[in-house]
Structures are given as C-alpha cells and as structure tokens.
Symmetry: C2
Subunit: 377 residues, 2 copies
Amino acid sequence: MTAPGPLLQPPLTEETMKLNALAPSERALVPFVSVDNMMRLAHQVGIERMLSELADYIEADFRRWELFDKTPRIASHSVEGVIELMPTSDGEVYGFKYVNGHPKNTKNGLQTVTAFGLLADVATGYPVLLSEMTLLTALRTASTSAMVAKYLAPAGSDTMAMIGNGAQSEFQSLAMRAVCGINTVRLYDIDPRATEKVLRNLRPMGLNVVPCNSAEESMEGAQIITTCTADKQYATILTDNMVGAGVHINAIGGDCPGKTELAPAILHRSDIFVEYPEQTRIEGEIQQLAPDHPVTELWRVINGTAEGRRNQSQITLFDSVGFAIEDFSALRYVRDRIGGTSLYVDLDFLADPDDPRDLFGMLQRSKGREAKARSVQ
Amino acid sequence: MTAPGPLLQPPLTEETMKLNALAPSERALVPFVSVDNMMRLAHQVGIERMLSELADYIEADFRRWELFDKTPRIASHSVEGVIELMPTSDGEVYGFKYVNGHPKNTKNGLQTVTAFGLLADVATGYPVLLSEMTLLTALRTASTSAMVAKYLAPAGSDTMAMIGNGAQSEFQSLAMRAVCGINTVRLYDIDPRATEKVLRNLRPMGLNVVPCNSAEESMEGAQIITTCTADKQYATILTDNMVGAGVHINAIGGDCPGKTELAPAILHRSDIFVEYPEQTRIEGEIQQLAPDHPVTELWRVINGTAEGRRNQSQITLFDSVGFAIEDFSALRYVRDRIGGTSLYVDLDFLADPDDPRDLFGMLQRSKGREAKARSVQ
C-alpha cells in the first residue's frame, strides 16, 4: 500500500496511461487512520495539546447543538454485551461510530470497548474518512469532561480526585490539566495495581499524583471529583456523607442501564448537567431519579442560554454517558489534522466506474489485470 | 502493507522481538476487502458461479429467518439523498451495511449508490470483516432475485424481459441464467444507449440478448419480467393491459417512498411476495395498496410453511426492496471465500494493549517508534 503525501511521478508510458484509466478516481479512495497512525498523531501534536484541541472542537459543536440530527444510539444486545451504531449529522457532514461494550472481554485479554468511525459527505453520500476510534473515544471522553469542567468546576480548581484507575484515568487527568489547569490528581482504586499503573504512566509527565487508600482520602482538598469505575451493578462509589459543598462531580462510569456510581442522595443535592436527556435518563446516574427530575442540557450552558455554576458552594454534577456529537467532533478534528500528513492511507473503498451505469463493464474490464495497477489495494 | 497469506519469516533479532511486542495482536487486525479485491474474487470464482453461490447463502439465511434480529434501516435524509445503516444479527455474528442513495450523483459522474459493510463477533464485539459493498450489493440483489424466481417463476422459464438497462441489468441477467436456467434476455430502456451497453457487455457471454423498441415488445414470450428503472416518481413502467397470465414479475426499481414502477391494477391481479413486510409497505410497490393488503413473506415459502406458485396461469410478484439479511449473507459468503487467499489486507483497526486497562501505556510506549515496526499501517 502506498503511503499518502506527494507521490513519485514516473514518466507516463502508454501502458501506464492504460492502467491509470482503470485506477480508481480520487473520490473512490477513502482516507483511513489506523490505530498506529492515531498514536502517531497524538505524539506529533502532543497528547495534552490534542486533548485541548479536541475539547475546542467538541465545544464548538455543542454551541451549534440545535443544527444536529440527534437519534438515540441503535443497540444490538446479546448475553455477552452490546454493539451500537451512533449516527449524527450537521446537515453537511454525516458521521457514525461503531462501538461495542463487552465487560467480560478483559478476562480474555480483550478490550471492553472497541470502536471505529466514519464521516461522509451529506451532499453525495460518499464516505470521506474512516478511522479507528478505540483510542479516539478515550481521548474525546476526557476532552468532553474537561471542557464541561471548564464551565462548571469552582474557579481556581487545582486538585482532582480520580476514583477508578482504569483505561480512562490517565486521559482524564491530562485533559483536566490541559483545559482546566489542575496540577494534582489524587488516585484511588479498589485494585492497588491499577493505581500503580497510573502512577507509573503519569509521574514522568510532571503531574503531582498522590495514591490514596480510600475514596474518602482521595477527595481531600479536591474541587473536582471524577468517578470512572467499571463493571459494577448499581455500585455506590460515592455515598452522601463523602461529598462536601463546592465541588464538581464528573461521573463517567454510570453509562448504561443498571450501571451507576452515585448514591441518589448526592444527586438530590446536586445541579445535574447532561448531554442529551433522552439518552441520559436511560443510561446515566439519573436513571435512579424520577423521569421528570430537572436537569440542564450542557449545550445551553455553553451557548449562554442556561446558567452553569452559580456560586462556590454549589455541587455541580456532569452525568456523562457519551453522545454521538462528541464522536462527530473528534472525527472532524482528525480529518482536519491529517490533511497534508502521512498519517493515513487511502483505501480503495468505493466502486466508481467512469459511466455510473456501467458497473458490470468496470468489473469485466478488470479481468486478468494485475491488482498492482490500482494505486491502492 | 503486507499481503495476507504465508508471511516471510525473517530470523528474530532482539530488535525484532522488541518490535513484535509492540505489534498489534491478531485480534486487533481486521481483514479488508477492497473494490479491486472484490473484482478479483468475482473473476477467480467466476461471476455466474459467485451469483449462484451467493443465492445459496441468501437462501440458507432466509430459511433461518426467525433467528435474526430484524430492525428497519436507520435513515438520515437530506435534500440530496439518504444515508442508511442496515444492521442485523443471527446471535453469533452481527453485520451492518452503510449505504447511500443520491439520485443526482450520476449528473456529476458519481455512483447513485455506494456501500460498505462489516461483520463482528457477537460474543466479543470485535469486528472480523470490513468489505466494499457497492459491487457486492449489485451481486446480492441479482442473486436474491434469482433465488426468489427459482421458487416463483413458471416451470421451464427460459426468457426474461429486462426493462431498465442500468447498472443492475447485467447482474440480473446472469443470475437468472445461473440459478433459473434462462437463455434469452429481451432488453428495453427509454435510453437506447443503455441497451447498447448491456448488449456490448452480455453478447460475449453467450447469452441470447434481444434489443426491443418498447416495454411491450420486450415482454413477448417472457415468463420472467424484471423491472429495474431509476429516478422516477410514481412512474408506471408496466400498465395492466401489458401483463398477461402465467408470469413472474421481479420488481426491483420501486424501493423507496414515492418510487414505484407498476400500475396498482397489476398488483391486484398478482400474488405478492416480500422480504420484510414492515419495510416493504413503506418502500415497495405495495405502498400503493392498503396497509393490510395480503402479502406472503418469502422466508415462509422457502422453509415450506407458505405456498409459492400454485399454477401456471398465476401472476407472482416479488416486490423487492433489499433487506439487511441479504447483505449479511453476502458478507458471510465473502468471509468464507477469502480465507487462505490474498484477496484481503489486514487493517490495524483495533487498539489492543496487552493489559486492557493500560491503553495510555500502549500509547506512550509507541512514542518515537517507527510506524513500519507494526505489521500493518
């Protein structure tokens, strides 16, 4: 497969021209960003800068929230887990993410969540980007949390409690530093090896990381409390007496029916902010509350039509479940970022005969021809 | 990008071993079938044999119809067209197709319909196949028509009228020969250049192809009548007086709200067979009829619980709109067929750290490493 970027141009022989006539047109090629190239993108941009730039893209799309086609995700459930398609569109660009959730995968050394995504041109229906999203989802989730905390956390927040030290915790910590300026993360997990892993990963990055022996201890002096635990049925990670006034709770882990992290009493003391109420009432912490319990949509805070934090003693709660528009923003960012780089390869994705009615002729003319004649296999 | 099949095994140096430790695991790689490789598959198998084998796979899945998760497609409409996701699952394998429909695309030299599809393992949620489906959809549509005609067309059918000579017509003709044994195709299109194209493509294949000056003329002596015209609002390709007794109508073109080909009177004289009534009543010819007009589900004919053709004078009508299970069957066929061949490439599609909780560590360890160290970019 040829790398993108400037191509070597051999002199055009008659044979080359004949082969070029069979090569797919540019519209038939779709840029693909592999896991490896997503990691290269993160290193070239810098992880914290990328988290910060992603937060900007997500914020921009929250600001024009009303433009988007919004549908709850389309889920296919099985005994072992769920496979979901999350589509959205801003009228010019269409995007969707494929994502699975299989909590028992880790037992077999597999990821609980894998994902990929696609952008397409609404005017033609032609795909314009295919990208891995396992890593990108981890980045966008952290960027969304940090962007929201920028609006809701108490002014001058410098310390975050990070409860649950799994795959998301390093990204959360770095995004909160990049976007909100925190400098200290207090870590707690029921499994000390998970905390060890985060210490090992984050110490070299100049963040003040403090291992703690309990959730209570991790919350000492923290203005932001992030909960991100996994695979618990109606767990209570935070009880009412643990949470004082004047904090922002960033609740990541409660994200599907039957999976919550916070005691209901905390929810009743908090002002609750959500992405898309229709989805959060099914999947978020607020599934524990009455279906008409008041919540504020974040996009209204961001475009100035609803109030965010009103005072320093209020408890704000971001009941995060993840929404299709955040994935759309992340894919939009990747698309903008990879232009002119070698961070993608072109896939021969779309059949594109010269005469659109002559698909069969295209097939017949390809017979016997060497595959290498096409610029990309 | 390495081709699949037996890999060259260089001696393992210490450096190689270190790099291998960073290479994605096998589960992280997803086989991708490009347009070029789909064409090579068709030529290696033989187009008619492939159409026939696809018909067998589709028939097998119609026979176990009740097993499948069935949802109407999820559509995102715009002024210019529609983008749809078509998911289904048999409980072990999940599949979906992305497909667009943009009638005005041909004006700009683009395809009206492009498509790709994916299969995933239900037990883990991990994708196992990514494939082009623009070409594959053309093949599966023809194979479905032929498989259905095998059950419904009059015994001894040898002649088909092919009304509408666009991209689908050659595939329809060859599938009907391969599966039902027809030897003559009588062609009509309002645009004589379209008919010329089909003559040019099919004459070398030993099929008796007859250009006709009208739809009526094309139907002389035909036991199977295939209508496949495009881009007409409530057109009437067939009027009542044109259709005699003892034929099978294979109606492909009426496949979305507002797009039909047959006069309602024909529908009232026919026994109507459909894929999935919930979808066909919205998209098919029967959108012209009362919502409770009796139709027979094809899977019942195939598994023997409903009657197909009862006598030689009956008019049978397949009101074809295309359903997710046919795409699933086609992807299943491709997956079975490409094993052990060089007709795919492995994409580095899924982030797969050794420790599932240590996604960040995987990202950090990749820093500075050359992309070429991974087996696939």
